[in-house]
Assembly symmetry: C2
Homo-oligomer: 336 residues x 2
DNA sequence: CTGAAAGCGCTTACAG
DNA sequence: CTGAAAGCGCTTACAG
């Protein structure tokens, strides 16, 4: 079924070059010839061979997203919404999306180098940055375009979208203090993650502002999954003088924390408050519904694609945007 | 940063052809030369140019999955788990995955023809088949490999994995009759879908077997989303002599149906039973948890990839498998 | 065991 | 306005 330029050219008694230019709308082809070529191509069902075009043009017309090591699974709600945004935005653009997972055993940067060197993609979408992220270092070094959610110290040649992590957590904590909570725990993630550092900072700022002490034994780490959130929260809640509010780094871990509370016979929103971050759709349907810092994950993903594509097509300008302000969404998990 | 065979060849004083063969492990290259080539390639960070290789070898080393028109969104739970399975399975294979959504306005087959003609992919994964599915007709006609979840009348040149739709729904209905439910409604999907026809058939068989009549006014259609499930269920539950059990075509619509019941002040699992199909992870966490027919969506997706890849590499044998038997997972939404 | 050559299907200067 | 030619980076018969 494969139709090539050659066949169209033969059918019409033209050269391959002329057909190519006609289809591409070059001005140096007579209008009548162009009409015939376009019509014939349509009839024959011609679509350019992707590989040939790529090889010749030296670009892939594709971008890549590799699930970061710190992302639990393909199908966790945050990742799904993020990927949905990438996919939906790309659907309207002449770019393809390559998605893969990090392959255990290899250095995290390996697959980026591989995809760039094989010219499979023209650029990358990143998230879950680390403070000194080796991926950013690599992309900077080779001048490969990227757009990332979050920004780290070395972010230079790429584009990024930021969320007001610290500020929004600080506000949330203040709100809970006003409501009467006083024994705060923080359920974080891997400590090198930018989102961990920023959200923890917001947590500390909030307590400080309200004149509360930070109890070190109430700072815990998770792997950003609900399972590890459940485990870590169980420990926190079994301590003497247990916390009455658990601020979680994201919704997934908050789901786990709520489960842990139930396991211990505590009523979430009454005996203990639990909050998340991200505002994934599922957060509205848990029992009780989860108070969270809601930012438009889906829209942000679309925005990242736009910025990356702009950058690939025109490597000059990509102005910084002001950080996105998450909405404090109060629900029953904090007694609201 | 791009390293090509040419550069390796120059570095070593060899021909491009020799380097290519050495890297490919051909037997006609001296062992010492091969060693040098492999080592140098590694040092220089060589990765073959994907487009060049594809063009020459005439294969894409990639497969495609296009979200069917009848699929609500990228991020609904079924789709996420399905895509997670595709992605995870592919991660271990030398194949890429292209995902896209159907572009409204174009015929559904358009994108399949386009991807095949541009040689972007070597084959397709399909689901949500229609009884006379134009996609299957197209792929059969052009002899393009595919693997599909569900099978339709014309399925010929492809491979498929089937689920026992009718049989499992029939069993579920019988179980509910034994529990005392007697006024059954069916919340289906677009009528041309294979899963709709099969699951509805199971519903009818179940009622017949138990000596119950089918009440036509209790057969409703949805778009497989929770929103349309909610709407359709609201109508059913407002009828005089309302149903005491709603069998839904999938979990998404069941989520909507449960919401509709709550909207009317009915207690799910007491005033009205609701059941789903698929066993998505979220079904265990709703309030109340959802009784459903659970089949391993994630695993099935992985299996489809395996079958497709086998077929691409060796277009001969792909034995039919017996249909997968969903597990009846009884939860509180049916009073279990 | 190694090299020279052809060609996959395009695009793009360069002639005419 | 159109065509002939070169070349993107590979792979693979064919010589030697």
């Amino acid at each position: 079924m494969t139709v090539t330029l050659k066949e169209i050219a033969q059918t019409l008694g033209l050269s391959i070059a002329a057909v190519s230019r006609a289809l591409d709308g070059h001005a140096d082809i007579s209008i009548e010839t162009r009409r015939r070529v376009v019509e014939t191509a349509r009839q024959m069902g011609y679509v350019p061979n992707r590989a040939a075009r790529q090889l010749r043009r030296q670009k892939a017309d594709a971008i890549g997203y590799i699930l970061p090591v710190a992302s639990p699974r393909f199908s966790d709600p945050f990742t799904s919404e993020f990927i949905a945004g990438l996919g939906d935005e790309l659907a309207g653009l002449p770019f393809d999306l390559f998605i893969s997972t990090h392959q255990p055993g290899l250095p995290e940067t390996e697959i980026y180098a591989n995809w760039a060197q094989s010219r499979k993609v023209d650029g990358f979408i990143l998230n879950r940055l680390k403070e000194n992220d080796p991926r950013i270092a690599l992309l900077n070094k080779h001048n490969i375009p990227y757009a990332s959610l979050e920004k780290c110290a070395q972010s230079k040649t790429g584009s990024f979208v930021q969320v007001n992590n610290a500020g929004s957590v600080e506000k949330l904590v203040s709100h809970l203090v006003v409501k009467g909570y006083s024994k705060f725990a923080f359920l974080g993630g891997p400590p090198e993650l930018v989102i961990h550092q920023a959200r923890l900072q917001g947590f500390k700022n909030g307590l400080k502002r309200c004149g509360l002490d930070i109890r070190k034994e109430l700072l815990a780490a998770t792997e950003l999954t609900s399972a590890s959130g459940r485990q870590a929260a169980a420990k926190l809640l079994s301590k003497p003088n247990r916390p009455d509010a658990i601020i979680c780094i994201n919704d997934e871990t908050a789901f786990g924390a709520m489960q842990a509370a139930k396991d211990l016979g505590l009523v979430v929103g009454h005996d203990v408050a639990v909050t998340g971050f991200d505002g994934v759709q599922a957060s509205a349907f848990t029992n009780p519904p989860l108070t969270t810092l809601d930012f438009p994950v889906y829209q942000v993903a679309r925005q990242l694609v736009q910025r990356l594509v702009t950058q690939i097509q025109n490597p000059s300008e990509w102005p910084d945007l002001p950080p996105i302000e998450p909405a404090i969404t109060l629900r029953a998990s904090t007694g609201d």
